[in-house]
Symmetry: C2
Subunit: 327 residues, 2 copies
């Protein structure tokens, strides 16, 4: 295992995704001083991806005129089920990975200590440390994007459960007979409130003759539809899009009420690209619905807020992970 | 605060319910050597109830020819939201209590150290220690009875969250547009799978002309219907009752899948009077449905079992709590 250089005063956070890799260089006080981005090319296999992560890290370090010698450690968030103790990605559907020794392989490439966790856990760690100053003992981070994932901080530490898959909140069933989900089930939160679910509902309705300014903006096939387009459509008074977004936000509120009933954390932070793009349209509906559905008394004083870290949650959390582990 | 007598070699567990109080005397190796039962008479107010708890404890001690001097401590589970640090019942709907200093008052009555937790937490503690030998680091206890409640053991310790209400699993929404629940919401687990929900469905159907052997057993109004009657009806080939019980078990399976997705505990133990009476009719359906609905891979190796402690879960857990706190 690579040893941390105690004198090195920088950290690296890596956000490994199904389509892109982000790397950020941070000071030990968690200021981002350089970054780099690269496509993942998961179809080339895990060895090639590890090599691309290493290159992305080197690019980020070079970008801010540093060398690897000045890096204390690397924290990385990977999709899927991750065993942080052994540093393995157990399985990750969108990378096509099974039992990949990411920590070991990356340490070999870069000769730096690498620390690995699930991506939503890493994002939660970033939000907890940077946005909430590490204060809440128990918190939940939920991330609304292509899918929906989450991370749990219990007693100040990341909690990952028996199979390291705790926080798989997107597949919480909210309507036992609801719409089909990518997981094979029905009525999961993700099937109501993810970007994928929203886009599918809009495209289905347009296919059935629904009018919307989105087709004026993007053409009938709605190719290249993005979360930001929904915001623009709502701003232009599109009641159809507004209704779709509101319904999705209501289901998110119900899911968050369930989390309050079950885990009763001090804070729930909502992040991810979809919340980022539609915070002013969604957050108040989410909060109102959550408070209405939480068992009376259980939500008292519990904060439900939107993350402001946006796309940086992953790399920031990676740096936090590296800092914790090399202290 | 009352001091524990280190030489005393017995513990007391108390299960405080809306209708009855149970007290059990245990050896330090958690063998039950005496017990007592008394009606709660919550309508007489909290002072009278505390006095009745004290009397119930004294009766149990007397029953096994011991004296209070031989008792090391008392662990008590109370319904509602409980602050175990201050020893207060914050609110308990079925007792009509708000901010009752149960620990302090009972210590005054009995001059013994008293330790307090939420009833489902205490039952979970009992199951964890006695049925699972304290082994699982993370587990969830769920209790199907008049209502549905739960308790969480995280990292070997009871977890109660920000407002001490964690484990309020019965109000997890499973059908956003489902049947009305006593909490004011819709489609909560409790509205599908509690004894109250089952009885309501049966009584409504009978009112609408449904035939069942239950009316032959108990008369048209189904007064005095008990969980055990459902088992008898199913054994006599009553397909209607069988279907109702199976549907309730399916919803319990979905709820448990949600808990696996969110918390990923090592073990989920299902207790309570309803599971007790209908284990052979319900458990296999619950387990099958839970595994079908858990996100693929997340339930691997996770045990879903029925508790065998029955009505003793509360007093046993109380004794475990007292033993932990006086060690």
């Amino acid at each position: 295992m690579a040893e941390a250089n105690g004198k090195a005063d920088h950290l690296i956070g890596v956000d490994l995704g199904g389509t892109k890799i982000l790397a950020g260089v941070f000071t030990t006080s968690l200021k981002c001083v350089g970054r780099s981005k690269m496509s993942t090319k998961a179809d080339r296999g895990s060895e090639a991806v590890v090599e691309r992560i290493a290159r992305c890290v080197q690019d980020a370090v070079d970008e801010c005129d540093l060398s690897l010698k000045q890096i204390r450690g690397i924290g990385i968030g990977s999709p899927g089920a991750v065993d942080s103790d052994s540093g393995k990605v157990l399985f990750a559907g969108n990378l096509g990975w099974k039992d990949v020794s990411l920590k070991k392989e990356l340490e070999k490439e870069l000769d730096l200590p690498v620390f690995l966790h699930n991506d939503c856990n890493v994002c939660t760690l970033g939000v907890h440390e940077v946005e909430l100053e590490g204060k809440p003992k128990n918190m939940i981070g939920v991330f609304l994007g292509t899918g929906i994932g989450g991370g749990l901080i219990i007693d100040g530490k990341l909690y990952s459960g028996f199979n390291r898959t705790a926080g798989e909140v997107g597949h919480m069933v909210l309507e036992a007979n609801g719409p089909k989900c990518t997981c094979g089930g029905r009525g999961c939160w993700e099937a109501f409130s993810s970007r994928t679910a929203l886009f599918r509902q809009i495209q289905d309705a347009v296919h059935d003759g629904q009018k919307t300014v989105l087709t004026e903006m993007l053409g009938e096939d709605l190719k290249d539809l993005r979360s930001g387009d929904l915001r623009k459509a709502i701003k232009q008074g599109d009641k159809f899009v507004e209704h779709i977004v509101e319904e999705a936000a209501k289901y998110s509120g119900i899911a968050i009420a369930n989390l309050i009933n079950i885990i009763n954390p001090e804070v729930i932070v909502i992040g991810g690209g979809l919340m980022d793009a539609l915070e002013s349209e969604m957050l108040s509906v989410v909060v109102k619905t959550a408070r209405e559905h939480a068992f009376p008394g259980t939500d008292k004083g519990i904060k439900i807020v939107a993350s402001q870290l946006g796309d940086d949650a992953g790399i920031t959390g990676g740096a936090v992970l590296a800092r914790r582990e090399t202290k």
